[in-house]
């Protein structure tokens, strides 16, 4: 068993012959937010996508080591990728709502699971939209196209869409980097709310954001995990020189 909700043990990932992640061991306790920071190209997105096996879709990717969800290796033989992805939701950098109505976007995860009970779907959609702090803004327009929403609303819709299938872990890859400051603040508030129920991994380029929303922070550099500590410690008292250089803006 693992003490952590999700964990990687000695994980290396190769794109062809180049290692994008080198021997990474890191655990995330339940109901905590872990921020992943580091310069561009250091492997943050790649690391995040380990947990819902999104890297599988790229040709020529090889993963070594173990990625544990509730103590079970999700890369083991016989594990169904679809099952993993239902338990590990993901929010992308650019909002990517489907060209469907607001309602159908949130209901999508239920429909592909064969849920047909109308009452249940309606209740779930409302719950997810409330959790994503979008309900009040869209409740009278559920039939409207999701593409008519603003960027910030679209991103909260994508969060609602991920929450509707009741995952236990949520992955967020720079979820507010494409948004205006107000939408950004809303998303951060949301993350605070969500961590009561979910375990969250968030990639961010914004150090203040990492400091504001996360309990723990991991600093990646050139595919290696340089430092992993409680957020306040990492930002006030970094142990590693590279971490210090990065958070003080000397490179990256």
């Amino acid at each position: 068993m693992s003490f952590f909700k999700v964990e990687t043990r000695n994980v290396s990932l190769y794109y062809g012959n180049t290692a994008a992640l080198k021997n990474i061991s890191l655990g995330v306790p339940e109901n905590k937010v872990v921020a992943i920071i580091g310069p561009s190209g250091c492997g943050k997105s790649t690391y995040l996508r380990l947990f819902n096996r999104m890297n599988d879709m790229i040709d020529d990717v090889r993963v070594e080591g173990e990625v544990l969800l509730n103590g079970k290796n999700i890369y083991a033989d016989g594990v169904r990728v679809e099952e993993v992805r239902k338990r590990v939701g993901m929010v992308f950098q650019k909002p990517n709502p489907f060209p469907k109505s607001i309602f159908e976007n949130v209901a999508y995860g239920l429909r592909i699971n064969g849920v047909t009970n109308k009452r249940y779907i309606e209740e779930t959609v409302e719950r997810a939209l409330r959790q994503a702090a979008l309900w009040d803004e869209v409740k009278d327009n559920l039939k409207k196209s999701a593409l008519a929403l603003s960027g910030g609303q679209q991103q909260r819709l994508c969060i609602a869409r991920a929450l509707a299938v009741e995952p236990s872990v949520v992955l967020m890859d720079e979820p507010s980097s494409a948004l205006d400051p107000i939408s950004n603040a809303k998303i951060e508030e949301l993350i605070w709310e969500l961590k009561k129920k979910y375990t969250i991994l968030i990639v961010t380029h914004n150090m203040q954001q990492a400091a504001r929303v996360s309990d723990w922070t991991a600093f990646f550099y050139l595919g290696e995990l340089i430092e992993y500590a409680e957020t306040k410690d990492l930002f006030t008292n970094p142990r590693n020189e590279k971490t210090q250089n990065y958070i003080t803006g000397r490179f990256g």
Binding site: N52, M54, M57, E82, E83, V84, R85, K86, G89, M90, F92, K94, N96, P97, F98, P99, K100, Y108, G109, R111, I112, N113, S145, A146, L147, A148, C158, R161, A162, V165
Partner: protein
């Protein structure tokens, strides 16, 4: 190198006031006029064709009323007892075209989805050239294939099938327009951004679910356009139906019987010994106008579909 610098807008301005204009300037304006002439030629051709059609069919409609043309149920302009109802030709055209769509749309969409969502690059490299070969076969070959190969084959399963019929050329036409449906639909599917696919996969959707419930609807407007284009291609197709459908205008939607289409009729008259300027001869212009209107309506429909679909928020 120097020429290129002179052609840039800033330097052009300074030289334009000077005595000497750069060579590039003249070549540019020459090319522009040549291209304009080409555009003009195509506009005039269209106008000329329309004028001829209208003038010649005027002679036709002087003798045959529009009402008879549109409502009479027989088309026998070459017989002693003449009837001028376009409906039999229209039904033949629609029947063969619909059969072609029934073949090419399901098959074409399946191939398009396979090529765009499933096939790995080496597989695609093998399949695409085959489709292009299909598109390059002369229609007369398709026509004889329908008449001499497919019809006898079908007769083994369908005893009532006439030697000339709508079914066989319809199917073959479907094969002919298959590459059109496939490649245009594939383009539309490929244009759907990967971020949407990722969004679906991240929710635990299977590849089939992502293809059918996300990618396909997102590409619907492009797919519709490809289907309508294929339909108007089928409506305008001549050789296959002229050879294998039987040139027998009758108002029927039974695919097992011989029919004639608008295009096949035009071929029949223009190749026969119908005297120039006679009423029978002028029928081909009336039919051509009808064909023109039909394709025009099809294009309007496709335009409307696209517009309403875009308004609904589709891609």
């Amino acid at each position: 190198m120097q020429q290129r610098a002179e052609a840039s807008p800033q330097t052009m301005q300074s030289t334009a006031f000077g005595a000497r204009r750069p060579v590039v300037y003249y070549t540019d304006s020459l090319i522009k006029s040549v291209l304009f002439l080409c555009a003009l030629v195509s506009v005039f051709t269209t106008i000329a064709i329309l004028t001829v059609l209208l003038v010649q069919s005027y002679f036709f409609f002087k003798e045959v009323s529009l009402v008879e043309f549109l409502t009479a149920r027989q088309w026998t302009p070459l017989f002693a007892e003449k009837h001028f109802g376009i409906l039999p030709l229209l039904s033949g055209t629609l029947l063969t075209s619909l059969i072609a769509l029934l073949v090419s749309v399901p098959l074409g969409l399946a191939v398009a989805i396979y090529l765009s969502e499933y096939a790995r690059r080496p597989v695609r490299k093998v399949i695409k050239p085959f489709l292009e070969i299909l598109a390059g076969i002369p229609t007369i070959v398709y026509g004889y294939f329908a008449l001499l190969t497919l019809t006898p084959l079908l007769q083994k399963f369908i005893p009532h099938l006439a030697g000339f019929n709508a079914l066989s050329p319809g199917i073959v036409m479907g094969i002919m327009i298959l590459p059109l449906v496939t490649s245009l639909s594939e383009d539309a599917l490929r244009a759907v951004p990967d971020s949407l696919r990722e969004g679906g996969f991240a929710l635990g959707a299977s590849k089939l679910q992502v293809s059918l419930s996300i990618v396909f609807p997102s590409a619907l407007s492009g797919i519709m356009a490809s289907i309508i284009l294929a339909l108007s291609r089928a409506v305008g197709e001549t050789m296959i139906v002229a050879i294998a459908a039987g040139n027998l205008p009758q108002l029927t939607f039974n695919p097992l019987e011989p029919v004639s289409t608008m295009t096949a009729f035009i071929v029949q008259v223009s190749q026969g010994d119908t005297p120039y300027g006679s009423l029978a001869y002028n029928t081909i212009f009336a039919v051509a106008i009808a064909l023109f209107v039909l394709t025009f309506i099809l294009n309007m429909i496709s335009f409307r579909i696209r517009k309403t679909f875009l308004a609904a928020g589709g891609g």
